[in-house]
């Protein structure tokens, strides 16, 4: 199954999540958009953490995971938030 969801983050940038899931697991995911994320490579770590997640993972758990990665990488997000990422992932899964 392929999912796609977009969100113009309030006071922020456009976030697009493209993903595929099979047998209840997210098998690949891309976070796309005109946002800023420093260091940029953090996006691969976030995508890597979402990949393999159960499609029923709660928004709260996704937020916690993204926040933990951002903290570990000392990352700064501009125009997106962990909450927006979680919401958009859930929206993409539901498609």
């Amino acid at each position: 199954m392929i999912g796609l969801a977009k969100q113009k983050v309030p006071n922020g940038k456009l976030l697009i999540v493209k993903l595929e899931h099979e047998d209840g697991k997210i098998t690949c995911v891309e976070l796309l958009g005109d946002f800023f994320l420093y260091p940029e490579e953090t996006v691969y770590k976030i995508e890597g953490a979402i990949k393999g997640m159960d499609v029923n993972t709660s928004e709260t758990d996704i937020i916690s995971k993204v926040k933990a990665i951002a903290e570990a990488e000392k990352a700064t997000m501009l125009g997106i938030t962990p909450e927006a990422i979680a919401q958009t992932v859930k929206a993409a899964v539901k498609q």
Binding site: K13, L32, D34, F36, L37, Y38, P39, E40, L78
Partner: protein
């Protein structure tokens, strides 16, 4: 600190993006001073942010027809159409500690140079976080920055003469959506120097050169042989490749 200033030059998209990286590497290795660079894009090009999808954002077929290049930047932000005669681009490359530490503060800091330059040609502009400069609420300049290995890079454009229809033809917008209403909508959100000041592109460059260097010690300079060699290498092995440009 003595800044090196690279005078306005026109290059293709691959050279332009490779030069920003090569200069960043040279500054990181203490082989080059902090650098302010001005350039235009010849041929015209579309650049996309590092988190965007080339296939989703750019009409590659139309670019081929119009001899427009396409390239992925190292910086975030959105897709930009760089018309060869429609804008001025700059880069500021320095060690991070030479610029304000905070991301918003550093955007604001360099935006002030652009705002001062616009003011000197009679245009009142303001900084619009995160990364824009606006005139009466309409965007006239977009900017993007990255910080890697202790090096700060910010590049951005100042719109001189935007051709909205040409922009739509190379950016991936459904043909059905390119209606008069949509063009009007873009023109309501975006403006250009020529809407506010009757000056040439060269006069805009002169104004920016003055405002970017105001109060700084600086010398007009050139890229070193090593920087040029590295630029050509990066252009061929990274910025011209599908592996880089279509990586997302």
């Amino acid at each position: 600190m003595n800044w090196r200033v690279l005078a306005l030059e026109a290059h293709d998209a691959y050279f332009n993006m490779a030069a920003d990286q090569a200069i960043s590497e040279a500054v990181s290795g203490d082989d080059a001073p902090a650098t302010i660079r001005f350039y235009t894009w010849k041929p015209s090009a579309v650049s996309i942010g590092c988190f965007q999808s080339m296939k989703d954002e750019v009409n590659i077929e139309r670019c081929r027809e119009l001899d427009v290049d396409w390239v992925r930047r190292r910086t975030g932000g959105g897709a930009v159409f760089h018309d060869a005669s429609g804008e001025l681009t700059y880069s500021v490359i320095a060690k991070e500690h030479h610029l304000p530490a905070g991301i918003h503060e550093s955007y604001r800091h360099i935006s002030a140079w652009i705002i001062d330059g616009l003011k000197s040609v009679g245009i009142e502009a303001t900084y619009a976080p995160i990364n824009d400069i606006v005139v009466q609420g309409r965007k006239i300049s977009g900017n993007a920055q990255t910080r890697r290995e202790g090096i700060f890079l910010q590049h951005g454009t100042i719109l001189y003469d935007l051709d909205v229809m040409k922009m739509f033809s190379v950016l991936k917008v459904d043909a059905a959506k390119i209606s008069d209403k949509m063009v009007k909508s873009v023109e309501e959100r975006v403006t250009k120097v020529l809407n506010h000041a009757d000056i040439t592109q060269e006069e805009l460059y002169d104004a920016m050169l003055k405002s970017f260097t105001d109060g700084k010690e600086y010398s007009m300079g050139a890229m070193s042989e090593n920087e040029l060699t590295r630029t050509k290498e990066l252009a061929e092995t990274v910025y011209k490749t599908d592996a880089w440009n279509f990586s997302r």
